[in-house]
Symmetry: C2
Subunit: 200 residues, 2 copies
């Protein structure tokens, strides 16, 4: 950029531009907004970003993002530990929680099988899920991967891996819009898909 | 939020939501993106935000944002110090620089007169501009405040304050779209407005 832009400004514009959905124009607006805003906002934001990874980890049971291990859901005695909803991402846990209709546990795969992106089963928390189910006490595994090609492939793979354990395996009803992304689905649609789940 | 969201995640979502144009949904996407992204991105972003205010100041001559004081433009001997373009915000300096047609200096007011928002002339760098012009060596002041009610009011006020100094006072030609925002104007329109500036 020109001599009108000091380096710390350029650096923050470049850093913001690396976030998804934020182009150079938005990045520059955000940066100049922070310059005008009270110091407290910059401090809060910088601290929150630094804390995000430093103060969170993945739960050793369900692999959701958590502050304490095991996470609050895995520690909650009031939740049914015999049912596990399997999702691709931590945000998907939030989507299911928002239905208010599920009182069991979760398992976060951290992705879906995608040959195109070079993501195989070994890159996901699938071995950990099979071990968790094999350890006993689980009655039903509800597969809630995204209703698209990769989510379906992942569901099929999970079904084959879990079959030997004899656990009941279900998949969310295909009331979900095919090709969509679980976290954007409205709560009512997701609630109906949960209620209409079918055995694989 | 629910027990599925650890506090460091909530805190960053809330911090991002305080930025302009970023709602809770986008804030949450950005936060979970950072969780998945390499640590280096969070570190770069946190450092850049912390550095932004720590390593920048306003130039004591033109009040643009700068790393060193005076700023690179005010120090540049090749730039014509007898012409001053007066703008509302630092981003407006960038917009004028992008025309490539201006080789003088700047003065950043840091806002416009706005009775609605309670911003009076004493809240802007107007006294400093008058002092700068009164000190001599300035032949022309080009007022480039935004082409709207507040920018026009500010221009009128500046014209009255600067008149006693006898300096030539011009305003950008009204080829600019009225009600618009200077930093969004394309370079060609801005270049024409610069060329067609008229005496007040």
């Amino acid at each position: 950029m020109s001599q009108a832009v000091p380096k710390p400004v350029t650096q923050l514009i470049e850093a913001f531009s690396r976030l998804p959905g934020i182009g150079p124009k938005t990045a520059s607006r955000l940066t100049y907004y922070l310059l005008r805003a009270p110091d407290e906002l910059s401090q809060t934001l910088a601290t929150a970003i630094a804390d995000l990874k430093a103060k969170t980890r993945t739960c050793s049971v369900c692999y959701n993002i958590t502050e304490d291990d095991p996470c609050a859901i895995c520690r909650d005695e009031n939740r049914d530990s015999s049912t596990i909803v399997v999702v691709e991402e931590p945000l998907d846990v939030l989507a299911v929680e928002r239905t208010g209709a599920y009182q069991g546990r979760y398992h976060v795969l951290h992705g879906a099988i995608s040959p195109v992106e070079g993501i195989g089963p070994e890159d996901l928390k699938i071995r950990e899920l099979v071990a968790r189910v094999s350890a006993g006490g689980v009655r039903e595994v509800i597969i809630a991967t995204n209703p698209g090609i990769e989510g379906d492939a992942t569901a099929m793979y999970l079904q084959r891996q879990l079959a030997p354990t004899g656990v009941k395996i279900t998949r969310l009803a295909r009331g979900l819009p095919t090709g969509g992304d679980l976290e954007y689905v409205d709560s009512v649609t997701l609630l109906r898909a949960l209620q209409g789940r079918h055995e694989m």
